[in-house]
């Protein structure tokens, strides 16, 4: 599967990316979180980032989303019109325009939302990515049902949901009319086995839709079922990048710690 996909152009080309933080108020020290990371991601590929706590997995996702500024290197992203842009060099306004529509980020938390109903929140995400209001509502209902959010919860405010429900609403909103590149940071961490199963199926479908996924999961089972490739990181560096059947046997439980 991976072989045929690699014939297509990548959508993301990360080259020699480093990230360091200068802590001005703690004696000005510099902390390096990522050093010289390089890899590509193709459309339809699901790439899992593995590595122990502090390996730089979340740092990498945040750099690509520009929640962290990029200290060195380039993060080239291929737009829908095949033009390549370096996310490191984009203006803030350009990053805002890319976010949500072309590049999505789903974390383990549902961020502070205004008092909106569950269905409205998900449908709005669809509308922001170009769906008509009617289509977005229909699709939102379908996604919520697939993720096991019962219809009785669709019109309540998200603030009253449980942690696991919030996480599934977050997934529904992040995946409706999906952006071309999705960054997933432990999106199923708070789910019980049954709902986790549902979420994994929905995430697996993304690959069939041609969405490029770069994900951090905290369990080997999710990685083995979803990933087409694994990038193993250690202490801020990429140590291995290869197909699942090659890299998975090398992983230890410590490599999938949050």
């Amino acid at each position: 599967m991976t072989m045929t996909m690699n014939k297509t152009l990548p959508i993301l080309d990360v080259k020699n990316v480093s990230k360091s933080f200068t802590l001005h108020n703690i004696d000005g020290r510099t902390v390096t979180a990522l050093e010289d990371a390089s890899f590509v991601v193709h459309p339809g590929e699901h790439v899992s980032l593995a590595g122990s706590s502090g390996a730089g997995k979340s740092t990498l996702l945040r750099l690509i989303y520009r929640t962290y500024s990029i200290t060195a290197g380039s993060v080239s992203f291929r737009l829908a019109n095949d033009e390549w842009v370096d996310i490191a060099q984009l203006s803030d306004a350009e990053v805002i325009a890319l976010r949500g529509r072309e590049i999505g980020y789903v974390s383990q938390f549902l961020h502070a939302q205004p008092r909106r109903s569950v269905i409205d929140l998900v449908a709005r995400a669809g509308v922001s990515r170009g769906m008509s209001t009617a289509d977005a509502h229909e699709q939102a209902g379908y996604s919520l049902a697939r993720l096991g959010i019962s219809r009785t919860l669709w019109d309540v405010h998200t603030s009253v949901l449980s942690g696991g429900e919030k996480q599934r609403v977050n997934i529904a909103a992040g995946l409706i009319s999906p952006p071309r590149l999705l960054l997933l940071d432990e999106p199923v961490s708070a789910l019980d086995p049954e709902n986790r199963e549902r979420a994994i199926e929905v995430i697996a479908d993304l690959s069939d839709q041609g969405v490029a996924v770069l994900a951090v999961f905290h369990d080997l089972d999710a990685i083995s079922r979803l990933a087409s490739r694994i990038i193993l990181m250690s202490r801020g560096s990429v140590v291995t990048d290869g197909p699942v059947d090659q890299v998975l046997p090398q992983l230890t439980p410590g490599d999938v710690q949050p």
């Binding site: 108020n25 019109n81 306004a93 990053v95 325009a97």
Partner: protein
């Protein structure tokens, strides 16, 4: 330049500056963050804001964050026309297609902008409302200024706005002084939106309200910003407010912008020492 479509600016601010006292060109280099003060020790002038540049697009809210005295409210008030700017160029796309620097307008033309183009929501409702007048009367005021004459139509619009800002309609004919702080703020927002201005300036809109009341007002503002697609500037010392309402923001200290960033980036990866200090303080 990339082909990424970025909405064109509605508010364009260039080299905005305000000082109090006598001007000496050298005082600019003697004040600011490196000197730890906005007050020039030679002339005793205050450089309240200097060299401020930014754009705000339709549907976008820009945050300005900083401690009191940082110059953030000065910037907002210079744009609103409450304070006369000392220098700078401010263009509003909805006014003369952005061909006029509004800082050059005479006071009556500036006031005219406040009717249709630009509204302000102040921290203190007494600044934005006539407290001795009813809620309905406060909303009728900008409508009549904009030429509305039909009493029934004015009442209908007031009712619509109060309903949208969740003020009980049976309070419409009560004078605002008898309202709670949160309710006054909602009336102020209703009044600000009366003529559907394309630009909304919010100066510490929830500061001073009880936490639960503040979160309700904040929630309302966020919904309105999403719905109305106005260009907004939100001034606040509170990162919670900035995080909830804005995608980009400026950090000001001693009258200067020390950092401009995506809001999530400012919170997760602040660069300037002052930003790092502010974020660290907000996180504890």
């Amino acid at each position: 330049m990339t082909s990424i479509h970025v909405p064109s600016p509605i508010i364009q601010v260039r080299n905005l500056g305000k000082y109090y006292g006598n001007f000496d060109p050298a005082m600019i280099d003697r004040t600011g963050p490196e000197h730890g003060t906005a007050r020039d020790h030679v002339t005793a002038s205050i450089v309240a804001a200097w060299g401020v540049n930014f754009d705000v697009a339709a549907g976008e809210a820009l945050g300005i964050v900083g401690e009191s005295g940082s110059g953030k409210s000065t910037v907002l008030r210079c744009i609103a026309g409450d304070v006369a700017a000392s220098t700078g160029d401010v263009r509003l796309a909805p006014f003369e297609d952005g061909n006029v620097n509004i800082l050059d307008l005479d006071p009556s033309a500036r006031r005219q902008l406040r009717i249709n183009t630009l509204s302000v929501v102040y921290q203190d409702p007494a600044e934005g409302l006539a407290l001795g007048v009813t809620a309905g009367g406060n909303i009728a005021d900008p409508l009549t200024a904009a030429g509305w004459r039909n009493f029934g139509a004015i009442r209908d619009r007031a009712r619509e706005l109060l309903a949208r800002t969740e003020v009980p309609l049976d309070r419409m004919d009560d004078i605002v002084r008898n309202f709670s702080g949160g309710m006054r703020q909602r009336v102020q927002i209703a009044r600000a939106l009366a003529n559907k201005p394309p630009i909304l300036l919010l100066d510490e809109p929830t500061t001073g309200l009880d936490a639960s009341v503040a979160s309700g007002v904040l929630d309302l503002i966020r919904q309105l910003l999403e719905e109305l697609q106005v260009a907004a500037i939100v001034v606040s010392h509170d990162f919670g407010v900035i995080e909830m309402l804005t995608e980009r923001c400026l950090v000001m200290q001693h009258g200067r912008v020390v950092e401009d960033a995506l809001t999530d980036q400012l919170l997760e990866d602040p660069h300037h020492p002052y930003s790092q200090k502010l974020v660290a303080a907000a996180r504890t």
